[in-house]
């Protein structure tokens, strides 16, 4: 039975390759990335063989504890937990519990993260290739530690399965996950500054962690090398107890979960709340604007980009403070304008087959294009203006403000026009409605890349005049170029915007069914 589960998992992994070349490329890139990371970590662990034993002990214990925390937290937050062997699917198969547990645990090692963890854990035996007891200690510790990692993640996902299956939890967790990810740079910088200040802190932390379930398994090699056999035995007991305890907990949770399928209940709400549909004009364009705005707020795939927005200035500010110059910060306005306007270039792809409603109701292409653009503009315009003025408070280059405003608004309008054309003709692969914004979407990656890079290239060409005026002021210092751009940028942008909406509208009228046919491929 265990062998069956293993071969099932293996077969699922292999069949993943057979779906499309794009997916193979994606998995190969992901695999190479993990392989590279694993190789670097293994090299470090091997190199530690010649390091000071205390330092090696600290590194191994801290790294191992970090890995365990990662296995605990990441599957919960990424809402991308590997559910290919979801225990719920075996409910009707009547597999004895011990064999199910063993099979699922071992199957957890098949796949990129599991394999990488196993290999890196085993590399700690190289670190403790110093005496016979230490090698054995490290080996036992590696097996115990890696297994605990896998079991820990299973316990966490099983415990939260019914919570995680509720849509609201998925929506929120996938966005909240973004925030620490975006702030990783500043966080690491601050943390390293703080830690280098107190060098003795890390070994002491490692020493304490070694007595906890998180670090016990990883410290076995170090303890035995130091000759502390009593401590080693105690820590082995801690590690074993942890694993057994987790297995027992997992068994209880599974037994409960197998007979109580997750129930994603939501409160019923009566009608009467039309929201934006009541506020905006009762025309096709107004309705589409209202619908698009609701999606910007309620669909995590859109809302994720709204969460990123306020973080952008923070990141640029921190990287500017560390680099000592705030040049990058002055790009905030144009960059935001680009990101926001380009975001709707995949609008129809985000609709997926729900686009059928637009097709069935016979909406004119121009109304469709204009409605989506106006929704983006409704919050994009104020945000871009604020983000253009904000950096001036730090850099003090107020003489560049008119020019910056012209450039930013030019990029915003031009980008919206171009997006209106692009999304009327081309589809790109995006996460399907209801999926996590980070889920790797199925479909043709090559076309997506071609559309994305082609579009950005065209956008760069279209905003050349505004960029030229910006460069002119920086070189000559003449205010005239700045005021010229303040007028010229938005003017040219609006002309291109109007042209883009019209052209996109015509294309949509002519080729709506073909676009819809392309959407039905990935659903």
């Amino acid at each position: 039975m265990v062998a069956h589960l293993l071969s099932l998992k293996f077969r699922l992994l292999l069949n993943g390759f057979r779906r499309s070349p794009g997916q193979v490329i994606g998995m190969v890139i992901g695999g190479l990335y993990a392989l590279g990371l694993a190789a670097v970590l293994v090299a470090i662990l091997v190199a530690l063989r010649w390091a000071d034993p205390g330092a090696a002990h600290a590194v191994v214990v801290l790294g191992g504890a970090g890995a365990m925390l990662g296995w605990l937290v990441i599957p919960l937050l990424a809402s991308a937990a590997d559910m290919t062997l979801d225990p719920a699917r075996f409910t009707t198969a009547a597999i004895p519990m011990p064999q199910l547990l063993a099979g699922l645990t071992l199957a957890g090692f098949i796949g990129v993260p599991g394999l990488a963890t196993a290999v890196i854990s085993l590399a700690t035996t190289a670190t403790w290739w110093r005496s016979v007891p230490s090698v054995f200690g490290a080996l036992i510790g590696a097996v115990l530690g890696a297994t605990t990692c896998v079991v820990l993640s299973k316990v966490a996902t099983t415990a939260t399965a019914s919570l995680a299956s509720s849509r609201r939890f998925k929506d929120v967790s996938s966005i909240v996950f973004l925030i620490p990810l975006m702030l990783l740079g500043p966080l690491i910088a601050t943390a390293t500054q703080g830690l280098t200040g107190s060098g003795a802190f890390l070994p002491r932390l490692a020493h304490t962690l070694a007595w906890t379930p998180l670090g016990a398994a990883w410290s076995l090699g170090g303890e035995l090398y130091a000759g502390d056999f009593g401590g080693g035995v105690l820590k082995l007991l801690v590690a074993l107890a942890t694993l057994v305890g987790l297995l027992w907990l997992w068994k209880l949770l599974l037994q409960h979960a197998l007979v109580t399928p997750p129930y994603a209940g939501t409160a019923r709400k009566g009608s009467g709340k039309l929201g934006l549909f009541r506020v905006l004009p009762a025309t096709p364009t107004g309705a589409i604007t209202a619908r698009a705005l609701i999606y910007w707020l309620k669909d995590p795939r859109y809302a994720a980009s709204l969460v990123v927005l306020p973080l952008l200035p923070v990141i640029l500010f921190f990287s500017g403070r560390q680099g000592g110059s705030f040049e990058a910060l002055s790009l905030l306005g144009p960059m935001t304008a680009f990101l926001l306007s380009w975001a709707i270039s995949a609008d129809v792809s985000y609709d997926s087959t729900a686009f059928a409603l637009h097709l069935a109701t016979g909406v004119k292409g121009v109304h469709d294009r204009l409605g989506r653009s106006l929704a983006c503009l409704a919050f994009g315009f104020p945000v871009v203006v604020v983000f253009t003025v904000l950096p001036m408070l730090v850099t003090g280059q107020w003489e560049l403000l008119p020019n910056q405003l012209g450039l930013s608004l030019g990029v915003l309008f031009t980008g919206l026009g171009l997006s209106s054309v692009v999304s009327a003709r081309y589809t790109v692969v995006v996460p399907l409605p209801g999926d996590s914004p980070f889920k790797k979407p199925p479909g043709n990656v090559a076309q997506t890349l071609a559309v994305q890079f082609g579009g950005m290239f065209v956008l760069a060409l279209l905003v050349t005049p505004e960029v030229a005026l910006m460069v002119a002021q920086i070189i000559t210092g003449s205010q005239v170029a700045g005021w010229a751009n303040l007028f010229f940028g938005p003017a040219l942008g609006l002309v291109l915007f109007a042209g883009g909406v019209r052209l996109g509208g015509e294309w949509l009228d002519a080729r709506g069914p073909e676009l819809f046919a392309r959407l039905t491929v990935n659903r």
């Binding site: 849509r167 009566g270 096709p284 087959t353 729900a354």
Partner: protein
């Protein structure tokens, strides 16, 4: 249509005197890669009829209805709704039709009420008219208590019903419904049938596709049996079933037989 006049009596065989069809498909064909999904299908749906389209899985029902409603461009053939060519004048033709496509998503981050309102406003309807009709539709389809719930949180049957409401909002002359009763509970199904029957009685035309023969036999006055992308039989339900039940006639037409040989072990326990 400007002058009210009594419909001429329906006499089979004298198609000249019959009223203009509500939907007329002529030689529709569609190929997906190497597979011919619809193979020169022609069909006339008389105005004011309750028309059923039945066929096995993969018969080309959904493809045909998609081509008839302007969602999928045919390789060959024409589709005409009340005299308007769907592919030459799509905007005019779509005003006449209410469409419930099968297997497409909805804008499910809207509430049910918002979704139906959205469908109405997309059609360019007045806000007050939309508000009134949405309220009535939600009550009629027993969704009033869930009008403020996001469609993504709806059950499959509720999702089907809200999609149906979106197709009804503009009071179309022709309703094209692809599998309207799939996963709808019996009470709601009876409800929907009542709505559709009243709609037909007042002169509207309904075209439904379904696997459920009993339902089609009881509900529809006309039926077309489709298989392999072609019409095998079409006409009034009485004509097509020709004495036997629609289900027997269907199995006879489509072939394949009832292969219940073998599986002896299933009776041995």
């Amino acid at each position: 249509m400007s002058q009210p006049h009594p419909d001429p009596p329906f006499v089979p065989g004298t198609s000249d005197s019959a009223p203009a069809p509500a939907l007329s498909l002529q030689g529709l064909a569609k190929r997906f890669g190497g597979k011919v999904a619809v193979d020169g299908l022609s069909l006339d749906v008389p105005a004011g009829s309750f028309y059923g389209m039945v066929g096995p899985n993969g018969a080309g029902k959904t493809t045909t209805l998609s081509m008839a409603t302007g969602l999928l461009r045919p390789d060959f053939g024409t589709a005409v709704v009340h005299g308007v060519d769907v592919w030459r004048h799509p905007l005019e033709a779509k005003k006449l039709m209410g469409i419930l496509p099968d297997g497409v998503r909805l804008f499910d981050r809207l509430t049910g009420e918002q979704l139906v309102t959205y469908a109405g406003l997309l059609r360019g309807m007045e806000r007050d008219v939309v508000r009134e009709r949405v309220a009535e539709l939600l009550v009629a389809l027993d969704l009033a208590a869930d009008g403020g719930t996001l469609v993504v949180d709806y059950s499959a049957g509720m999702t089907k019903k809200i999609a149906l409401a979106s197709a009804l909002i503009h009071a179309p002359r022709v309703l094209v419904l692809d599998e309207p009763f799939e996963s709808v509970d019996p009470v709601s199904a009876a409800n929907i049938r009542g709505i559709l029957e009243r709609y037909v009685a007042s002169g509207g035309t309904v075209i439904v596709s379904s696997h459920v023969m009993d339902l089609v036999q009881r509900m529809c006055d006309h039926v077309a049996v489709v298989a392999g992308g072609r019409v095998l039989a079409a006409g009034t339900v009485e004509e097509v079933r020709n004495g036997s039940s629609l289900e027997e006639r269907f199995v006879e037409l489509v072939g394949g037989g009832t292969n219940t040989e073998g599986l002896e072990w299933l009776r041995t326990f």
